[in-house]
Symmetry: C2
Subunit: 362 residues, 2 copies
């Protein structure tokens, strides 16, 4: 059993804000970064939460690998489209603006797309897709990322784990929120198996020869080995996950003119990452009354959840449901942070002069 401490969401968020500000990030931007980051922890997606504050962001800011001011620019714009230059700043900041612009435009023109080049890691993809929900819109958020996934029949990492996030509003049920890497698992999941000294399920990763392996040591970020795309091996149609990962790459990097595949930098690398993103908002009311759409989504969710269960299972889940339940519980009982992460926050915070001195709720 892993040990964790629980903190008030507000406290964690405030700390992340102060942390960012100390590293030169403007207050308004720091608020956005902190909100995206702690929302991840709140929703139980702790792989993208405060655990990354140094490795993905603080580290790059401290070493001047990225611009704390995120002086992003709109390169070109129409009534339905926009191309942003993220100015090698915080991905969250330009992404927040790009999605806001989509929503604003979609209120007039019903559909809008923004793409972003020259950015960095933007946190959880779902955050930006979910921004559309309160506006009764469908939101889409995609990003490319550093190379970790091999194409089918390849043996080296070429593609990112390139997530697809889509949010659609419901009436009384939780909204539909899909947020999925297009690889079977993220690289962090392999790390967990390595640390526990357990064998990998066959189909998660390949070794340096391109053979499926159960040895987590053979599936490493930067090589040797690589993650497999969703589907896994050929007979299980891993080429579909590969196709989806390539699709995300096209919509992000080819549409924005950013670098791609092995050109995308790792967060620890002393170079411009040039990560790219894609955002879209669709105004549902352009097609049918919003209440009809929302009630149909409720009915669809009910039908799925009430359909007969497999032997030994007593519940069918819908995309986003677990995360909404986590958020509800953690808002009330405190946001869990793993003990080793807390220790890291304390030691890193001390070194950077941003002491982590929060009181755990329990």
């Amino acid at each position: 059993m892993e040990q964790f401490l629980r903190f008030k969401r507000e406290d964690l968020q405030k700390y992340a804000e102060v942390y960012m500000e100390k590293l030169g990030v403007p207050k308004k931007h720091a608020k956005i970064v902190a909100d995206v980051m702690i929302e991840a922890d709140l929703r139980g997606v702790d792989s993208h939460g405060i655990i990354r504050i140094y490795s993905y962001y603080g580290n790059r800011l401290e070493k001047k690998y990225m611009n704390p001011l995120t002086p992003f620019k709109i390169v070109s714009e129409t009534g339905t489209t926009a191309l942003y230059d993220g100015a090698n700043g915080l991905g969250h900041v330009v992404s927040h603006a790009a999605m806001q612009s989509c929503i604003k435009k979609a209120k007039k023109s019903n559909i809008a797309i923004s793409v972003v080049k020259n950015s960095n890691h933007y946190g959880i993809a779902a955050y930006y897709a979910m921004m559309a929900l309160e506006h009764d819109m469908i939101g889409i958020s995609l990003t490319n990322s550093q190379p970790l996934v091999a194409p089918t029949y390849g043996r080296t990492a070429v593609l990112g784990t390139n997530p697809i996030a889509v949010a659609a509003p419901s009436h009384k049920q939780y909204p539909f929120v899909l947020d999925m890497a297009t690889s079977v698992v993220p690289i962090g999941r392999i790390k967990v198996y390595e640390e526990k000294n357990e064998k990998l399920p066959l189909g998660w990763g390949i070794d340096d020869d391109g053979n499926v392996t159960d040895d987590p040591k053979k599936v490493q970020s930067g090589g040797p080995g690589a993650l497999m795309p969703l589907g896994g091996i050929d007979i299980m149609r891993g080429y579909k996950g590969y196709g989806l990962a390539f699709l995300v790459e096209i919509l992000c990097s080819a549409l924005s003119g950013a670098t791609y595949f092995t050109g995308v930098g790792f967060p620890h690398e002393p170079k411009v990452c040039d990560v790219s993103h894609f955002f879209m908002a669709v105004n549902i009311a352009a097609f049918r009354p919003i209440i009809d759409f929302k009630k149909q989504l409720d009915d669809m969710i009910t039908l799925l959840k009430e359909s007969p269960k497999a032997a030994g299972k007593d519940r069918i889940f819908v995309a986003g449901e677990k995360e909404f339940e986590n958020a509800k519980y953690n808002q009330e009982h405190g946001v869990p942070v793993l003990k080793p992460v807390v220790d890291q926050l304390i030691s890193n915070g001390k070194r950077l002069g941003i002491p982590f001195e929060l009181n755990a709720i329990r």
Copy 2:
């Protein structure tokens, strides 16, 4: 080795046209249906080709299950959106119009979406996505379909195999054309294993208890059993394929106000199928010069194809590549049609007074 005969594309297409006309389909519509259908055979997607002429279309037309005139209507429309009522006619006809409308609108407004309700099976999803290519646009085509796929932890078919098709133009390489069911395999693939009396790979289908099975007899259209979503079992992240299938269902049926999941009719059923579709066109030039996009796509494809191969593999493929090669070969050497399908065409054609008397090329 399966036996087949090869026919000239033009001959097959003419036959399909005449066939449709004899069943009351207007000439202009018959041309569209025939083109979509034979394009499938040409591209090697024979599961959606002339093999379906009776079971999916002729049968429904003969029995008056669907309207041969496809008197589709635009229910509502804006500068970027449209909702079509397919009038329970041929899915191809309304889909062709809906995608054309997207392309026309995207020339002015850069992005456009059309959704269609009250339709029927529309053939290969990629056909409509690919219509965008010659206009230097990205095309998207989605459809729901009759229930064949179980949600993760379920044991009955609730979702369709709901394909995702996306086409993006390249410069000198073949365009990117992804066309994938969101299940691991289509139901026809199970049938092939059943006929060959072979065991299924574990992860393709479940039996009536929701357990993974290798027995194709336990994975049947209409039950018992069901197909598994892309990813397969839980540990291989089948819930991602399930999430994608639900996403397609939302974008098709919830946005258009059509029926959903188990409400969608099977092609053989004497009821209105109420299949729904989603189409989208994105004008690339709104973001960057089209030639830059196309050259980047070429470079990306080259990088993927030239990346190191897994042991025992000598080639990495890109989505759509095999189909373009098939099309090129079959255009020259004739379109292959399986011998049993030819026999079926002959006997069905005789009964309907539409004799199949084509000369095979070889």
